[in-house]
Symmetry: C2
Amino acid sequence: MPGEREFLRNYDATVYTRPNCTVDMAIFTVREGALRVLTVKRNAHPFLGEWSLVGGFIDTAQDSTLEDTAMRKLREKTGVAAPYLEQFGTVGNNTRDPRGWTVTTVYFALIASDAVTLLPGEDIGDIRWMDVSDSGIRTKLAFDHDVLLAGCLRRLRDKVLYTSLPVHLMPENFTLGELQRTYEVILGEPTDHKSFRRRILSADIVEETGCMKHEAKRPAKTYRLKKSAGTHYFLRTLEGAVR
Amino acid sequence: MPGEREFLRNYDATVYTRPNCTVDMAIFTVREGALRVLTVKRNAHPFLGEWSLVGGFIDTAQDSTLEDTAMRKLREKTGVAAPYLEQFGTVGNNTRDPRGWTVTTVYFALIASDAVTLLPGEDIGDIRWMDVSDSGIRTKLAFDHDVLLAGCLRRLRDKVLYTSLPVHLMPENFTLGELQRTYEVILGEPTDHKSFRRRILSADIVEETGCMKHEAKRPAKTYRLKKSAGTHYFLRTLEGAVR
DNA sequence: TTAATAGTGTCTGTCAGACACTATCAA
DNA sequence: TTGATAGTGTCTGACAGACACTATTAA
């Protein structure tokens, strides 16, 4: 048997039938009081002209890792460089794409609405923040993207019950009322006022900025995420949506 | 612009450089009081002769889905057909495999020790249940498999704190003491006796078989998983290992 | 003054932790 | 009888839910 070095020199990567590899992303934000996901109109076959999630092929020349592919796609569409990014999962089969066997790794990103500038050069008619607040996603998307989106939404809603994820949808400074409304928009139902403050403040993940926000009637303290704070996992879930 | 039908007729899948796609699995069981994962000795380059997780290439001719690939690999090595199977995640980059850009989707499986018969034809010297009870995984594995394994272990330990996952490691009938010892082997620390029974019994996921087990001093009731029971998510986590 | 939002006080219920207690067997 | 495991009783503490209460502003 030859050694590994010789094996690799003679290795022909093209002899196997390989699936196509892609990355798709559900890029979430909250704007105008609704949870929204970025969709783009396809400008190529298959599914030409239909709405889809942001995504595309791995560029093995340009991307060193799967995350590179995801970040590149995100940057191309939104200009955002450092979002919350979580891998949702991977779907691979021979039916989801008419071109044949494909594997797509799905990420979801949370970005603050004020951080986005939909990039110039993109026709605004071809990129859109779709409202997904009402758990039904009305629009059929290209490929199986509506199923992938539903999965990401489910994951997001589940995690909101026991983590601090929604802080990543907030601008740098925010009030507890704004944060609570973000939780509620994702969950689709109200949460108790006092419990919410107790929970967030005792988690030790935010700190006062010292500034007040005067938008509402009574001014409200503003907070920012502590630099040391990673995602906080609460020991008990909110009991809104019990599985 | 041509129509989609014509586009697909002319589509040449080989014009892009595609990563290799594989599936790797951490197949867990509990035997001899320890949490173990199935490892196999590689009989081909690269990493010839080194230990690795169970895995291999997607066979686009044979497998319709990624899960098919995972189940096929599991069946080939263990004969088990219906395990608990969960997708852990996907790692793709240009450094983990000397043959170039690869994408591997990682699953972990939980199987009852008594369900396994390491398949004949396999040299027993080339397939082994590795002890991973002491959170350090001592053996370096081929590729990045030790990292993948560590990730699966982390996921498993986390989920054990708030789910009923360990029931899938039990034989059909088991006592609550046996189930508790399975939890403890995974967590690596003792849990309170009374709390444990309260938690399991109030979750309504097991039912008495009516039979007693006489192994220990005092006989113990045996239970089986309720047919209706999916994975149970507890509203509060055990507070053993707080993140 | 009123309406609206910010923020507090405090009681309840649930459930994990702790730990002492009883029960039933083998040896 | 002793030792080991099965199983119960019950108190504590942490924290979510509920909801009434006060505080501070704009209009």
